[in-house]
């Protein structure tokens, strides 16, 4: 198309009405980029044009969902909540990898070393504190770089903390749960970490209504290790803390502590008077 050529009226009408074949559209648009006279002749509605620009801008700006967000969306979590949860500092690949590696190491070591019972015991002691560490690193002024920004929003406090704690707990349980059946030992014993894990998580949330979570988590971890190791040594039964009786106690404790956290949930808000 030469410099003297301009888009004929009939062709322009078909272009504006989106009735042209793709090859002709490309040809017309190539001409429009060089010819102000023809550009001015393209009919348009202000509202349609503004809407088109907005749709284009929205498409260009739309963030690409990250790994954790894509997983949450696939699990049926709403778009805005998935984005909120995916920002949880704990849900980085590093933490996910750490949990997976601990579980995988237990499986591999248990299968290859011949020290099955010892490996199983170590796994049962370690597994409950993994969600605990993850939750402690999920929310708070010392672990979340934008905590102060978040604290002044309507989602601050219990809503955000419990959402994040929930997603970290579920993630840890899914990863460890997927590895547990491969551990050496009886099947029932390989999931004996689950109720202690829930009880410790509930204890962490309940304790956080009284003290900062970053301080509560180490206290609980230390208490758990001290109780399990010393209890096992004193009773000559390493699995005392994972017996059916103990499991019933963990279940009851988890329920009671969850109820206690619910009644005190306002204390999880940084703006709540103490």
């Amino acid at each position: 198309m030469s410099g003297d050529w301009h888009v004929p009226g009939e062709l322009m009408e078909r272009y504006a009405a989106s009735r042209l074949e793709p090859a002709l559209v490309m040809s017309v648009e190539a001409h429009l980029t060089r010819c102000g006279r023809c550009r001015a002749a393209v009919p348009y509605e202000e509202e349609w044009l503004a809407g088109s620009w907005e749709r284009l801008a929205a498409e260009l700006d739309r963030p690409r969902p990250r790994f954790a967000e894509r997983l949450l969306r696939r699990a049926g979590v709403a778009e805005h909540q998935a984005r909120l949860l995916a920002a949880t500092p704990t849900l980085s690949r590093a933490w996910l990898a750490a949990v997976a590696v601990v579980g995988a190491l237990a499986v591999v070591a248990g299968r290859l070393s011949g020290a099955g019972p010892e490996i199983m015991y170590a796994f049962l002691v370690m597994a409950p504190v993994l969600p605990l560490a993850g939750i402690a690193a999920a929310y708070g002024p010392h672990v979340d770089p934008v905590h102060e920004l978040q604290a002044a929003t309507p989602m601050a406090g219990p809503r955000l903390l419990l959402l994040r704690a929930g997603v970290v707990l579920v993630t840890a349980v899914v990863i460890l749960g997927a590895l547990s059946p491969f551990l050496p030992g009886p099947g029932a014993l390989s999931v004996a970490w689950l109720l202690p894990s829930l009880a410790l998580t509930a204890a962490l949330l309940a304790l956080s209504t009284r003290m900062p979570m970053a301080a509560a988590a180490p206290v609980l971890c230390a208490g758990w290790f001290a109780a399990v190791l010393s209890g096992g040594a004193l009773s000559q039964d390493d699995l005392l803390f994972f017996s059916p009786g103990a499991q019933a106690m963990y279940g009851c404790a988890a329920l009671a502590l969850t109820a206690l956290t619910y009644t005190r949930r306002r204390r999880l808000d940084p703006g709540e008077p103490r």
């Binding site: 907005e54 801008a57 929205a58 260009l60 700006d61 739309r62 963030p63 709403a78 778009e79 805005h80 984005r83 909120l84 920002a87 979340d144 770089p145 934008v146 905590h147 102060e148 920004l149 978040q150 604290a151 002044a152 929003t153 309507p154 989602m155 601050a156 955000l160 306002r266 808000d269 940084p270 703006g271 709540e272 008077p273 103490r274």
Partner: protein, 285 residues
């Protein structure tokens, strides 16, 4: 008209340190500046007003609601924009993603409307062309503008800005002043600063804090008038006063009693501020 913020005997301690000491204050629509040295209690006061920190004693009413009540606190947060002194960021987020994240926290659940609002506030702070840049790659001034953008989400009725001009170059600071002035026409803006120039240029009202107490409330002109008759210019350094400095034209500006051979000068906001604090100014060589 009811004040946007009303405080009565508000107090806060950190251990043995009394950071806020029975603050009584009323702040209405327009731009109010909170001026004071480091450790005066400005940030603590702003954190209490932004509902991220609970005071130990006293009463507060913010946007007509009591922040001590959980439901009222949430309602305040819905109508509040807050720029903390250290806003922080997720370095792997883009500028758009960070502001969008805060928009979600502010309950903007509809994606299309949320994206439109994010683009609006990014344009307000001249960061529209940086929407897809990762936050870690933005300069300090850009990050500060990004933090300001999130405070503008949802056109809040109350905007609290803690040291908002830190890290901005002179041109950005001028643009920032224009933006804040415009915002102050229709809502309440409370900003803390060390910069007396910001106060003189922006604020209709000023509150000066020192050692956890308010030591002045009034207009920028009112602060300057504190120093009326106490600002002197001389060619020689004063013999007795410690409140003096050498100005750009080589003369000595002295605050306080009349100096021999000195002439009276018009007071500025900075003169009044220094006299209010009662601290010796640094004598510049």
């Amino acid at each position: 008209m009811n004040p946007t913020i009303s405080l009565s005997a508000l107090s806060k301690r950190y251990g043995r340190a009394q950071v806020l000491d029975r603050i009584d204050l009323e702040i209405g629509p327009g731009v109010t500046g909170l001026l004071g040295p480091n450790g005066a209690g400005k940030s603590t006061l702003l954190r209490c007003l932004a509902t991220t920190l609970a005071p130990d004693a006293g009463r507060a009413s913010i946007l007509g609601r009591d922040p001590a009540d959980a439901a009222s606190r949430t309602e305040i947060r819905r109508r509040l924009g807050y720029l903390p002194q250290d806003p922080g960021h997720y370095p792997h987020f883009t500028a758009f993603e960070l502001v969008e994240y805060v928009a979600i926290l502010k309950e903007h659940t509809d994606r299309r409307e949320r994206h439109r609002e994010v683009r609006r506030v990014l344009a307000e702070v001249d960061l529209a062309d940086r929407a897809k840049t990762r936050v870690r790659k933005l300069s300090g001034g850009m990050r500060q503008r990004l933090a300001l953008a999130q405070a503008l989400l949802g056109e809040p009725e109350l905007i609290i800005l803690d040291e908002p001009t830190v890290g901005l170059d002179p041109e950005q600071r001028m643009r920032f002043r224009a933006l804040i002035s415009r915002l102050g026409e229709s809502r309440t803006v409370l900003l803390s600063t060390h910069q007396t120039e910001d106060v003189a240029a922006l604020c209709e009202r000023v509150v000066v804090m020192n050692h956890g107490r308010t030591v002045f409330e009034g207009t920028p002109r009112g602060i300057a008038e504190v120093a009326a008759g106490q600002v002197w210019l001389s060619d020689e350094p004063p013999a007795a006063s410690r409140l003096f400095w050498r100005t750009a034209d080589g003369r000595y500006r002295t605050l306080g009693h009349e100096q021999p051979g000195a002439v009276l000068a018009d007071p500025t906001v900075e003169d009044g501020y220094l006299l209010l604090l009662g601290e010796p100014a640094e004598a510049a060589a």
